[in-house]
């Protein structure tokens, strides 16, 4: 179990791996995630199940290398085994059976968006997708998104492809041009999700976001993942990770996500200089 059976480099900072995890593959639903740990000294980190193949018994993880654990994971190759993979965790996304949905994905956020888009497509829901990244070479999963969407818009911050600007700007443009929708699903960096919520708020469009707070266990045991939603404290790992974006306290979420910035830098530095045996 937990062997990497396939690996792809999607962008200079994003990798995709397919992992042999039959039990998880069998149960996974769009919106759920796994907790993984890659070595004895390792941290437990959450990654969304970007896709699953129940017959092959595999799950797909797509991740951006942002710190120590994701960098070390990036060094793992086909046939290597991930020490611990636990799941599926979190509540499955509540997806509509019909109507019209706009899916907005920023950066690696397109990965967790993908299984929801796939499911919406299977259900026959009309889907417009807007995906974006800083630059054209950082766009991921374009082909898959195109397959599941009735309409796909690509945005880049630097204008090197598609619409020049943020995905939230593109959404605003579509709404201003008269497009209507039953709900929006927005996944990506926190600032992006917040910006999307600001666009949809004034139009009263229900907007789901996927929160990615720091987690330790992922099973409701520690409260590290707490987010304030509508004035109530929720644990993202068991009450989420999807929440009504108009109710999320974004400032608090942002502060909490950055609680360990200093330590995260130390961890990477330590691994580099102390390394060798860690293979980095």
């Amino acid at each position: 179990m937990n062997e990497i059976v396939h690996k792809e480099i999607l962008t200079p900072v994003t990798k995709k791996i397919v992992v042999n995890a039959p039990l998880i593959a069998k149960k996974a639903q769009p919106g759920q995630f796994v907790m993984l740990r890659i070595r004895e000294e390792g941290e437990r980190i959450p990654l969304t199940i970007a896709d699953y193949d129940r017959d092959a018994g595999t799950i797909t993880l797509i991740y951006q290398e942002v710190g120590l654990t994701t960098m070390l994971l990036g060094l793992m190759e086909v046939n290597d085994t991930i020490m611990d993979v636990a799941g599926p965790l979190g509540l499955p996304a509540e997806l509509p059976e019909s109507g019209k949905v706009v899916a907005v994905g920023g950066g690696v956020g397109v990965a967790p968006l993908l299984p929801k888009c796939k499911e919406l497509h299977l259900r026959g829901v009309n889907l417009t997708s807007i995906i974006g990244a800083r630059s054209h070479d950082l766009i991921i999963l374009e082909d898959e998104m195109r397959e599941y969407s009735d309409d796909l818009h690509i945005c880049t911050d630097d204008g090197s492809r598609g619409f020049k600007g943020f995905v939230s700007d593109k959404l605003k443009e579509l709404i201003d041009d008269g497009m209507t929708m039953d709900e929006v699903i927005a996944i990506g960096p926190m600032l992006m999700m917040k910006a999307v919520c600001e666009v949809t708020r004034e139009h009263g469009i229900k907007t789901w976001v996927s929160m990615n707070p720091i987690m330790v266990d992922g099973t409701g045991m520690c409260g590290a993942c707490r987010v304030s939603v509508g004035g109530q404290t929720k644990f993202a790992c068991v009450d989420g990770p999807m929440f009504d974006g108009h109710l999320v306290d974004w400032d608090e979420a942002w502060r909490r996500a950055n609680a360990y910035t200093e330590q995260e830098a130390i961890a990477v530095e330590h691994c580099r200089c102390g390394g060798g045996n860690n293979g980095c």
Binding site: L23, G87, V216, D217, T219, G223, T233, V238, R255, C271
Partner: protein, 465 residues
Amino acid sequence: MAVKKRVEMPTQDPMIRRTNFDEVALGYTEEMAREEASRCLNCKKPLCVEGCPVSVDIPRFIELIKEGKFQDSIDVVKSTNSLPAICGRVCPQENQCEAKCVLGRRGDPIAIGRLERFVADWEMAHGKSEIPNVSKTGKKVAIVGAGPAGLTCGGDLAKLGYDVTIFESLHEPGGVLMYGIPEFRLPKSIVKTEVDYVKKLGVNIELDFIVGRTLTIDEIFAQGFEAVFVGSGAGLPMFMHIPGENLNGVYSANEYLTRINLMKAYLFPEYDTPIVSGKKVVVVGAGNVAMDSVRCALRLGAEKAMIVYRRGREEMPARAEEIHHAEEEGVEFHLLANPVRIFGNDKGWVTSIECIRMELGEPDESGRRRPVPIPGSEFVMEADTVVMALGTSPNPIIVNTTDGLSAHSWGGLIVDEETGRTKRPRVWAGGDAVTGSATVILAMGAGKTAAKDIHEYLSSGSEDW
């Protein structure tokens, strides 16, 4: 006969130990153990045994220590208590076995826990823990959770020839013994030795397996298991729901201790998981969990490590020894005080905590006098880390995903106490999942009770439940 004083157990010097995670209590030497054992009256009607939830034959094992027959002694203990090295360290003996010892009426009771620890440690160092040869029944039993309840139930059933699989959600077995209780009080090598023994008995432990998510109990039955024991503990943290509780630097004790113990954040950056523990740490609560947290705070470099507790000294629920050790290490106790809000800076980090003084009123349902706030007595304490150690409740994941189980409103599974049977046929439960946060020995006792009933049920061949 002159009443001899109890033999003290050597400990690391408080000022040194508050800077390391090594075990605080160092254990008896052979001489010390034999001397302490020699104080035991070997009572005809030993009251001490009544105080032990698993009825260890205390006079007998102590007699054997006196005679220097340590292997025989540990065998006696192990015939009813499968985790003696752990119980000897963490049982609240002053409320259990030692509370009942007749010698306690006129002087010091026998140090039963320390003696139990001594023989258990002796065996780990010298003994040959034998694996009994059992004939297999061919029946499969599943256990949820590798804490003391699950390990004990699994161990007992394996000895009876069942094919036992324990499903554990974390990446290490041991439950609270691994993620909650710190190294300096219960070395993890001891927990590992005990877990290894259970594995040697033939118990299979599946880690990273969240029952209710990876598979439900119904799906486990569908795989051919004939009985399920739920020992999933009481893992959900409580918060006070006061302003400022989500500031950076406010931890639940579960998160704080899990980072430190399970993830070894005290060894960061050798280990990857960080913790931010400040110079002025306030821990709210006064149970074992609070003592463990506040003493970890000292070891992580706190200059001031403080307990804030709404009742008085008498009411503190922690083991007497832990309170004593905490005091020796320089922990400050702010009793009869309760937090009302937490303040932070513009970056969202804790800076101080406002508390209100309390006084004790009429006794409440728990029989303890109810703390009531004194109006206008608010005061502010500086703090850069706050740890909420307010208690825990059972995780609803199992009840929510299993047909036919029922639970109290606070989450505890409803079972028949005599047998551990839940409302769902062929599902037993015990330990903190049933009682809410209690003790290691009670969890073990519940695991044993259920193992016995599971065996009776499965070996009777009856199909009526």
